[in-house]
Assembly symmetry: C2
Homo-oligomer: 607 residues x 2
Amino acid sequence: MWNERLTWVKALKSAVPETLKTPLEVAAFEAGQVCGSVRFEVRKDWREDYEILPDQDGYAVIGGETGVLNGAYALIRGLETGKIPQGRKTPFYPLRMLDCWDNMDGTVERGYAGRSMWFEGGAFDYDPARIRQLGRMLASCGVNVVCVNNVNVHQPAQHLTDSLLPDLARFAAVLRPFGISLMLSIDFSQPMQEGLPTADPLDSRVAAWWAERAAAVWAAIPDLKGFLVKADSEHRPGPNAYGRTHAQGANMLARAIRPYGGQLVWRAFVYNCLQDWRDTKTDRPRAAYDLYQPMDGQFDDNVTVQVKYGPFDFQVREPLSPLLLGMKKTRLALEVQLAQEYTGHQIDLFAMPCLWQDIFRRMGPEKVQAVAAVSNLGRDDNWTGHPFAALNLYAFGRFAWAPDAEPEQVIREWVKLTYDLSAEQAEALSRLLLQSPRTYEKYTANLGLCWMVRPHDHYGPSPYGYEFDAWGTYNRASRDAVGIDRTETGTGYVSQYPAALKELYENPRTCPDKLLLFFHRLPYDFIMKDGRTLIQRLYDDHFEGAAEAEDMRAVLSALSLPEADKAEALERMDRQIRNAREWRDVTNTFFHRLSGVDDKKGRKIYE
Amino acid sequence: MWNERLTWVKALKSAVPETLKTPLEVAAFEAGQVCGSVRFEVRKDWREDYEILPDQDGYAVIGGETGVLNGAYALIRGLETGKIPQGRKTPFYPLRMLDCWDNMDGTVERGYAGRSMWFEGGAFDYDPARIRQLGRMLASCGVNVVCVNNVNVHQPAQHLTDSLLPDLARFAAVLRPFGISLMLSIDFSQPMQEGLPTADPLDSRVAAWWAERAAAVWAAIPDLKGFLVKADSEHRPGPNAYGRTHAQGANMLARAIRPYGGQLVWRAFVYNCLQDWRDTKTDRPRAAYDLYQPMDGQFDDNVTVQVKYGPFDFQVREPLSPLLLGMKKTRLALEVQLAQEYTGHQIDLFAMPCLWQDIFRRMGPEKVQAVAAVSNLGRDDNWTGHPFAALNLYAFGRFAWAPDAEPEQVIREWVKLTYDLSAEQAEALSRLLLQSPRTYEKYTANLGLCWMVRPHDHYGPSPYGYEFDAWGTYNRASRDAVGIDRTETGTGYVSQYPAALKELYENPRTCPDKLLLFFHRLPYDFIMKDGRTLIQRLYDDHFEGAAEAEDMRAVLSALSLPEADKAEALERMDRQIRNAREWRDVTNTFFHRLSGVDDKKGRKIYE
């Protein structure tokens, strides 16, 4: 039994009983904890929608089958924050998925909150009470699908579609009352592991094999949302091995699951991971667009191509992936990463809403039909390692419902729902969170510099750590200049954008500072918009970022948080401060050794 | 059953039967395979010594209990190579040990030849026939002690001194007929794992615990050579935790095993492994001398302090550790590493005899009483991963008997004993091997540059891989200069040497080129002894080294080697060539980016 920690559902003191089997039953139970009189009215065709109306002494919640539960949680949130939503509400993205990189051995790939909550030792192993609590958390913020296993499918997760299916069905049943359905990561080569001589998507035996398997899977779990596939990427099997396109691979699988309403989600994270650093023509950020854009229109309508928000891999700052703007005839999903792989491992504070606002603002709402987030959850008592990291999960759900949300508002809402603080302290914590990504970016990867991280674990600075590697991750810093020229006369990456964005990024005078070295190779004496030289800006940001991290500790110390949360947050803050100093000093020394330029303000740069 | 591969004992076609129980019996059996008439005469007080004399139609071998076996192998070698040794022979170092970093889970730390030959799954697991063949190999080259388990003692190896003792005794019995005894790595904190509240060496309960344990161990294995300890190093437990010196820690253990003639071997590989790269005063190469030299004279006479050949950690090129010259009142062991951790992982060719000649020449024979080598063996059919890597084991044994050996001669001897080649081909292979370390050094770490390797695995270039780390491993390369000033006005490391060496190293004009950047920080335009600039020399060596690696392939291709050896050697040579190109290009690019100086000869340096 885990030591119950509540985060944003603290108003709900009683656990959801296992006897409740439908969203309506859960809705009535949950609303009853907070409000004396709530009447529910189910309108089938409303699906996830809801509307809250005043009703005699209390409220009426009108909604679809799961909409009533969404409405119940919206009502609870409204009562807590003093803002009851008006009018009928519809989630912007119908598919709002949490991608869990949980392996069946109990490890979580890029997991920073302990081991898997539901796998251990090659089998399902979970506390149903905790999974119900998870269901409550996800439903109450807006997530409606959980992909249960790592996209890098390791044994025995292949058996989730056969011998482990009954266990999977039982797990699905625990989350079903919360309106949450499951997605399954599958292994493209699976037919070969079970006797077929090929996994060629155009081989009729392969299609038949998957059709049979889909029938068995959906017989066990009729509301399974679909399959998620990572193919031909970072050594995973895929259709390219048979000379087939990704569209052919995806469509074959999509047709197998179509009879059951299944969605086939196909990850577009495909690039040459055996690149040669000597090769200055190949440019990894180009890869996904170059591969997928020509296939626009070739995917079946129950295929969704899932695209990471940036063209690399969840760096601290990347421009929006041009693929998200360039496939008008394809269903797309935007993928973000709550797991703080490159953003501080849930040790350093990094609130994500500002980043998402940036992304959604560029994307425009019409381009993408779904959102997915790599989970930051684990078996730790506080769910997310750092207690404040739960904000990112909460905010993801909120942005998935309403991508035009304001970061400030979502952060304040989470603070209010999570902690009993005075108005002043709540504001201090909200500001701390709001500031956190900018601070982190300053001391780690300012101006769009990517990949200057310690190889493998990705925590801590290593300016040349990925410089001569095979991953396409270079900054080419020399004694004169730094960055990659991705303009038309460089790698041409910028040409993958629509005209307006292309024009913005193409010119270092208009390119936003935060992406400057992502798009441009510039000399250290380049004059920035604010008049500073590039090298001085590099130094300044690193000094400022580390100083800000130190200042954050005082703010945190003054907060009246629950004892456990405060102890965890302070202990992690101390590690963040050490990390920030290390980033500051290593990065400044690196650029000082290269450039030979001293800091104008005479601050300490080590030899 | 392993697929038998013979290396330098190819003349011995028949396996040593398990019925033979003494070195004399083995000697008679082995000699009988090669020579019709050999008479043996045991003289007890000759111990390991032997003398070979003509005797009627054959030979007489006079020797001590194990000396007769040494003589038998010397005779066989002499008959094969046409040089029968004259006069009584005595091994220069009485203790000639192979340190096996074998873990009981079957892995080998820094092992490049497969899994452990005797451990698997937490238990002993071996083919006695193979261990007898190993005994033959070791005895025939001159090794007389095997330390069976990793100096980093992991569970359950702690139980080698109690519940696993019968298994250890059985293993010892397999090697005993070859005159080989065992050494055991122990865990300094072991008493605490079995109930004592402390491992303080001055606590009488601790001393009593070890005395009792020693009695049990030597009762089971009366000829056990002793215990090997790595303490207070890289997070291992040790006496410092109790405010005691290493002499106090070692002596306590030495007294426990003294009644049985046990030797206590104490590794001097102790340094601050949590160093701060900002700190330019602390200098890791100083550490062992600073710690141990003041303790000279404090160690009991059955303690041996085992010192790595250089002050760092088995880099491609290091100066001789000053500790080996600075402890006149202490028994010392020299430690080398056959396992090619930094010298190519038994993929790249690296014959070690030239390196050892350098070391022994500086050391002078009177200073050190024992030699130990980290093993390069594993479960691979060919014993050492690369079939030619067996040369290093063979040569280690030969140098341990006679440290004034000539590398050329030992290499030719190994080639002759291992392969049936024409005189011309044997010479070609010998020259290939002889050249190999110089080639490797050129393309990897020329001029004494250390640690520019990929972190963790240590294969492949990473110029800044250990630059901002905590291991004390820096080159501080900047746009103007590279290297660490270790002269008197620098870190002062050079002052740990006797006057003549100090003077030699102190001045960049007299310091040997191969150690130049180990001792000095120099600008890229420094003029070398041969008139080239430092930067040009850096480029030249890397271009030459990579070209030499490519040339080596042609030599290898032309050799009439056994099929398996040739295939393995060629496949590894192809990987070496790729590795050499990578080193060349990464290193040259690194220094070109920093210095901005072009190659005088206009060869390709990537951006």
